[in-house]
C-alpha cells in the first residue's frame, strides 16, 4: 500500500506540473483546447491526491506501523476517531491535506466558472497548478508521508493535547481557509495576466473568498476553544505566533471582503484589491511556514524541519511574481473614478481597510520581531501579549465604531446631519448602557467599560437598522412584522448576512472584554476537606480518584462546588497519564452557568504525595459569549453565501455581452 501512496503522489506531481506548463502555454497562445486539457489535469490531480490521502488514512485505521509517519503519530490503542487528527498532526500529513484541498477547491472553482476561465482568465489554471506543484514537489522529494521502516511493536502515539474532538476539526478548517485564499489569488493574478481587470474576477470568486474567510475565522475560533479546554491556562487566545499566523490572513481577507464591494459598486480601489488578495495569500503561506518551520519560539513550534527554507523560497517567488505582475499592469488598473467625499460609504470602507491592514501589519511586525532583532542586534527579542493587546485596542475600537455606523452612511456623499441623525439612537443606547454598567461596578476596569459600550453601540445600530427596514417593508407590502422581516432579509442576503456577522463580532468583543478585563483567579494548596473561596464560589477538595480509560490512566480530584450556600455538584479536574505516549496531560474542569455565560474553571495543578492538591481556580465572566459569537458568525456567513436566484439574474444581465458568462 505505501507504494500505491507514493505512486499516487508522483502522478499528482506530474499532473499539476502539466497543468502549470501546458496551462501557461495554452493561456499565452490562446489555445482553448490546451487550457481545457490543463483543467482536466488539475481535476485528475485532485483524484490522485485523494487516492494518496485514502492510502494514508487507511494506514492509520489499520495501524500499519511500517509507515514511519503512522508509527510516529499513532498507536494501536488510539481511539479510531483520532485517526483523522493523527493524519494531520504532523508535517507530512498536513502538506498532503494542503495539496488535497488545493486541487479539490481549485478544480471546483475552475469548473464552476468554466466559460470565464476558458475565455477570459485562462491563466487561472496554470497559477493553481504552479502552487500545487510546489506542494507536490515537497511531498514527493522532501517530506513524504509514505516513508517505510521495519514495523515497531507499537507506535509512539498521538500528542495527548491533540486528543480532543476540536482538534479533529481545527486543522482542516484552518487549511480550508488558508488554501481557499489561493482561489481569489489565482483569479486575480489571472485577471492581471489576461489584462481583464474589470470586476469579473471578484464576482466569480466572491463566494470562494467568503467561504475561505469564514473557514479561517471559525477555524481560529475552534482552535481557541480547544486551547481553552485542553491547553488549560484559563484563557482563549494567547497571541502566540502560530495563532497570529492564522489571524493575519483573516484580517487581510476581511479588509478584502469590504474593499471589493467598493470595486463592484464604484469601480475604484482596483490596485488596492489585487494587492490585498496577494497579501492575504502570501500571509496564508507565511502562516503554514510559521507553523511548520519552528523559526520562532512558540508553544506550537514543531521540531525544526527541513522544509522551512523551501517555504521561504516559495513565498519570495510568489511575492516577487505578484509585485512584478501588479506593477506591469498598473496603467490598466488606474481607477476610472475618484472618491468624491470623505464622508461616504466608500470612504468608510477605506478607513476600515486602513485599520484592518494596519492591525495585520503590526501583528506581522510582532511575529517577525525576534527574527528582525536577531538579524540587526544579534539578540532575538520578543514582544508579548501587552504589545498585541495595545494594538487590538487601538485598531479594534475604531473598527467596531465603523462597523456600527458604516452601514448607515450613504454611497458617494453623505451629509453629516443624516449621519448624526442615524447614529443618535444607537449612540444614546450605548451611552445609557455604559452609564448603567459604570453604576453597577464595571467602571473599575475602564478598558472593559469602553469595550462593552462600543460593542453595545454596534449591536444597537444593527438592531435599529433591522427594525427600520422591517417597518418600511411592512408599510410597503402591508404584511405582518414577521413576513416583512423575512421579505427584507431575503431580498438582500449579502447585506443582512453581513449584519449578522457584524453582530457576531460585537458579541466576540463582549466576550473577549469579559474574560480579558473582568476575570478573577485564586490558587492554593488544599488538604482533603479544605476549601477555597473565590468570587462567591466555595470549592471543597474531597479527595482524588483514579480510573483506567482506553489509552490513559485518569487521575481526578473531586471538588465539591457551592455558590452562596447552594450545592452545585462535584467537578473533577485532573491529569491523564498516557501510556504509549509516556505523557501527562492536564484535564481542566469547566462549569458554565447560564444565562450569565460565566465559566468556573478548575485546574488541578499538582497532586502532592501527602494527599494534598494544588488547585487553581478562575472565574471567567461572559466567556461563553465568545463561543456563541462563533455560532452566529457561521450562521451569518452561510446566509450571505446561500445561492440567490435573484442575484444570478442580476449578474447575468450585467454581463450580458458576447463574452458574457453567468455564474456564482
Amino acid at each position: 500500500m505505501p507504494g500505491l501512496g507514493r505512486a499516487a503522489l508522483v502522478v499528482a506531481l506530474g499532473l499539476v506540473l502539466y497543468a502549470a506548463l501546458a496551462g501557461a502555454y495554452g493561456a499565452a497562445r490562446g489555445k482553448r483546447r490546451v487550457v481545457d486539457s490543463a483543467t482536466n489535469a488539475l481535476v485528475a490531480a485532485f483524484m490522485a491526491a485523494a487516492a494518496a490521502a485514502a492510502v494514508l488514512l487507511g494506514a492509520f485505521l489499520t495501524d500499519d506501523l511500517s509507515l514511519t509517519y503512522v508509527a510516529e503519530h499513532s498507536s494501536r490503542a488510539l481511539p479510531r476517531g483520532y485517526a483523522f487528527t493523527a493524519f494531520w498532526s504532523g508535517q507530512e500529513g498536513s502538506l498532503l491535506l494542503w495539496l488535497l484541498v488545493l486541487t479539490g477547491m481549485g478544480s471546483a472553482a475552475v469548473l464552476l466558472n468554466r466559460r470565464l476561465v476558458r475565455e477570459l482568465l485562462p491563466w487561472t489554471v496554470p497559477i493553481l497548478g504552479g502552487v500545487a506543484t510546489f506542494f507536490s514537489l515537497i511531498l514527493v522529494f522532501v517530506s513524504s508521508p509514505f516513508v517505510t521502516q521495519p514495523p515497531p511493536a507499537d507506535g509512539l502515539g498521538l500528542n495527548p493535547s491533540l486528543q480532543n474532538p476540536y482538534m479533529i476539526a481545527h486543522p482542516p478548517l484552518l487549511y480550508l481557509g488558508y488554501v481557499g485564499l489561493t482561489i481569489p489569488f489565482a483569479f486575480a493574478m489571472a485577471a492581471l495576466a489576461s489584462r481583464r481587470v474589470d470586476e469579473r474576477w471578484i464576482v466569480a470568486t466572491r463566494r470562494w473568498t467568503l467561504g475561505a474567510w469564514a473557514f479561517l475565522g471559525i477555524g481560529i475560533l475552534v482552535g481557541a476553544k480547544w486551547a481553552y479546554e485542553e491547553v488549560g491556562w484559563g484563557g482563549w487566545y494567547a497571541w502566540d505566533p502560530v495563532e497570529n499566523a492564522a489571524l493575519m490572513p483573516w484580517l487581510v481577507a476581511t479588509a478584502f471582503l469590504h474593499s471589493v464591494m467598493v470595486q463592484e459598486k464604484k469601480n475604484m480601489l482596483r490596485v488596492w484589491n489585487v494587492v490585498l488578495v496577494a497579501l492575504a495569500f502570501g500571509l496564508s503561506l507565511f502562516g503554514t511556514f510559521l507553523t511548520r518551520s519552528g523559526v520562532v519560539n512558540s508553544i506550537h513550534s514543531f521540531a525544526e524541519s527541513s522544509i522551512g527554507a523551501w517555504f521561504l523560497g516559495f513565498i519570495c517567488v510568489v511575492v516577487a511574481a505578484s509585485i512584478a505582475l501588479i506593477l506591469s499592469r498598473l496603467p490598466l488598473l488606474r481607477a476610472p473614478s475618484k472618491m468624491e467625499s470623505l464622508v461616504s460609504r466608500e470612504a468608510a470602507f477605506l478607513y476600515n481597510n486602513l485599520f484592518f491592514v494596519a492591525f495585520a501589519l503590526t501583528v506581522l511586525w510582532g511575529v517577525a520581531y525576534p527574527l528582525v532583532s536577531e538579524a540587526v542586534r544579534g539578540i532575538a527579542a520578543t514582544v508579548g501579549p501587552p504589545y498585541y493587546e495595545f494594538f487590538a485596542l487601538v485598531f479594534g475600537l475604531p473598527l467596531v465604531f465603523l462597523m456600527a455606523i458604516g452601514p448607515l452612511i450613504a454611497w458617494r456623499r453623505a451629509s453629516w446631519r443624516a449621519l448624526v441623525k442615524a447614529g443618535a439612537w444607537p449612540g444614546g443606547i450605548a451611552i445609557a448602557a455604559g452609564v448603567a454598567l459604570a453604576a453597577t461596578g464595571s467602571g473599575a476596569r475602564p478598558v472593559g467599560l469602553v469595550g462593552y459600550t462600543f460593542a453595545i453601540f454596534a449591536l444597537a445600530a444593527i438592531g435599529l437598522e433591522l427594525i427600520r427596514g422591517t417597518r418600511a417593508r411592512r408599510a410597503l407590502e402591508r404584511t405582518g412584522w414577521i413576513d416583512a422581516f423575512a421579505s427584507l432579509v431575503s431580498r438582500n442576503r449579502r447585506r443582512y448576512g453581513g449584519y449578522v456577522v457584524h453582530a457576531s463580532i460585537a458579541l466576540l468583543v463582549i466576550g473577549a472584554v469579559g474574560i480579558g478585563a473582568f476575570s478573577s483567579s485564586r490558587e492554593g494548596q488544599l488538604a482533603p476537606g479544605q476549601a477555597l473561596a473565590v468570587d462567591g464560589y466555595v470549592l471543597r477538595y474531597l479527595g482524588s480518584t483514579e480510573r483506567q480509560a482506553a489509552n490513559a490512566v485518569e487521575l481526578r480530584a473531586r471538588i465539591e462546588v457551592s455558590r452562596d450556600g447552594q450545592q452545585l455538584g462535584v467537578l473533577e479536574p485532573g491529569k491523564n497519564r498516557y501510556l504509549a505516549e509516556q505523557q501527562t496531560s492536564n484535564e481542566v474542569a469547566i462549569r458554565p452557568s447560564w444565562p450569565s455565560g460565566e465559566d468556573l474553571f478548575l485546574i488541578a495543578e499538582q497532586f502532592n504525595e501527602d494527599g494534598s492538591l494544588y488547585l487553581k481556580v478562575l472565574v471567567n465572566p461572559l466567556v461563553n459569549v465568545i463561543w456563541l459569537a462563533g455560532v452566529v458568525f457561521v450562521l451569518g456567513s452561510m446566509f450571505t453565501m446561500w445561492p440567490d436566484a435573484r442575484e444570478q439574474r442580476r449578474l447575468a444581465q450585467r454581463f450580458a455581452d458576447p463574452e458574457a458568462y453567468a455564474s456564482t
Partner: protein
Amino acid sequence: MRLVVALSVAMVLAVFLLYTSFAGGATDSLRPSQLAGAQGEVQLAGVVVGPVEGDARGAGLTFTLRDFDGPASVPVVYTGSVPDLFAADRHVYLQGELRDGVFVGVKDSLVTKCPSKYAPKSDDAAG
C-alpha cells in the same frame, strides 16, 4: 491610492511611536550562552537538563537549562504552573532574571515547546 498607502504607513508609524513611548518595549530572548551580563527581565530558551528537583509550588523547581547546540548552561529556579510536557531533554522557554548566577523564573512563565514527534530523536539534539 498613494494616499491610502501613505496614510496606512503614517498611521502604523504614529501608533507604533505612541506604543513604544509609554507601553515599553520588547523582551530579549536569550540562550544560556548569551546570558552573561544581561540586565533586567529576559526570556531564556534552552534544553532542560536534569535532575529536576524541588517543588514548583514551594521553594521552587530547580533544573539546568542548556543551549540547543552547545555546552553552555545555567541553573534555573522556577515557581508556578508546570506545563504537561515539561521533562528533561525538552525545549522550553521562560521569563526571568539572572541573580547571582541563578536564573530566577517569573511565576507561571514556563512554556514547553510542543514537539510533533515523540521519538528521542536526532531532531532534539540538533534543534
